[in-house]
């Protein structure tokens, strides 16, 4: 489908790529986010909660 690929450059070629599109086009930034968010809010927060359970008298 080579002839279709030519059409992919539609739109104004000089128009800057919007910020969010740049984010979504960057797999390694997404990888970083997709690992950091759950590691912090789920694993680290969870482990801290378990570690702070008090000892029974």
């Amino acid at each position: 489908m080579a002839e279709e690929e030519i059409k992919t450059g539609g739109g104004d070629a000089g128009e800057p790529i919007p910020f969010m599109q740049q984010v979504l086009d960057n797999p390694f930034l997404l990888l970083f986010l997709g690992i950091t968010v759950p590691t912090v809010t789920y694993i680290i927060w969870g482990v801290m909660e378990v570690a702070s359970i008090p000892v029974a008298q």
Binding site: M1, E5, T8, G10, G11, A13, I17, Q21, I53, A56
Partner: protein, 178 residues
């Protein structure tokens, strides 16, 4: 098509059609309703698990539970020979989960509130109170405290619903509510 790169170089500024906007709005609203339902139930609802739990050593927990059972024992259960324990309203009630029994049998009063302690002597167990269908995970080395208020009288079973080895399906306990 989704299997080809987007035809436009800049697709982020594409106008989103109104059906999609409407659906996203509805879905987001519903998401927020569901989110706030949980904190709301902490204020308005009667069924919330406490976060009260302690690290405990199994022998120390067993000693507490045995002292508790000896103090409030009223009789022995005919089928199992297990002590039936009738604690005073409002008191701390201890239950042991172990391979493969819930010990002891409890006798509680309708409408009264008890601080129920749950801990395992060995593997993890699942406290499933039937036919109410209240389910709580029971861990070794942790004493979880749940304040319970039985709402009606009758015979209740505790079925283990966390797999705990070959005798798992024989692990049944009882709570009588008067």
């Amino acid at each position: 098509m989704a299997i080809f790169p987007p035809p436009q170089r800049v697709w982020w500024r594409e106008r989103v059609e109104k059906t999609e906007v409407l659906w996203v709005t509805l879905a987001l609203t519903w998401a927020l309703v569901m989110f706030f339902m949980m904190p709301y139930w902490h204020f308005a609802g009667d069924q919330n698990l406490s976060n009260e739990a302690y690290r405990v050593n199994p022998e120390a927990y067993a000693a507490k539970a045995e002292a508790f059972a000896a103090e409030h024992k009223v009789r022995e259960d005919a089928t199992s020979g297990m002590p039936v324990v009738h604690p005073p309203a409002g008191s701390d009630v201890y239950m042991i989960a172990r391979l493969w029994e819930w010990w002891p049998i409890l006798e509680l009063e309708k409408g009264q509130t008890y601080r129920l302690h749950l801990s395992s002597m060995d593997w993890q167990h699942g406290f499933s109170l039937l036919p109410e269908n209240i389910n709580i995970q029971v861990h070794p080395n942790y004493d979880m405290v749940v304040t319970v208020t039985p709402t009606y009288a009758g015979e209740f079973s505790i079925v283990c619903n966390e797999f705990c080895g070959i005798g798992h399906h024989t692990m049944v306990g009882k709570i009588f509510v008067k």
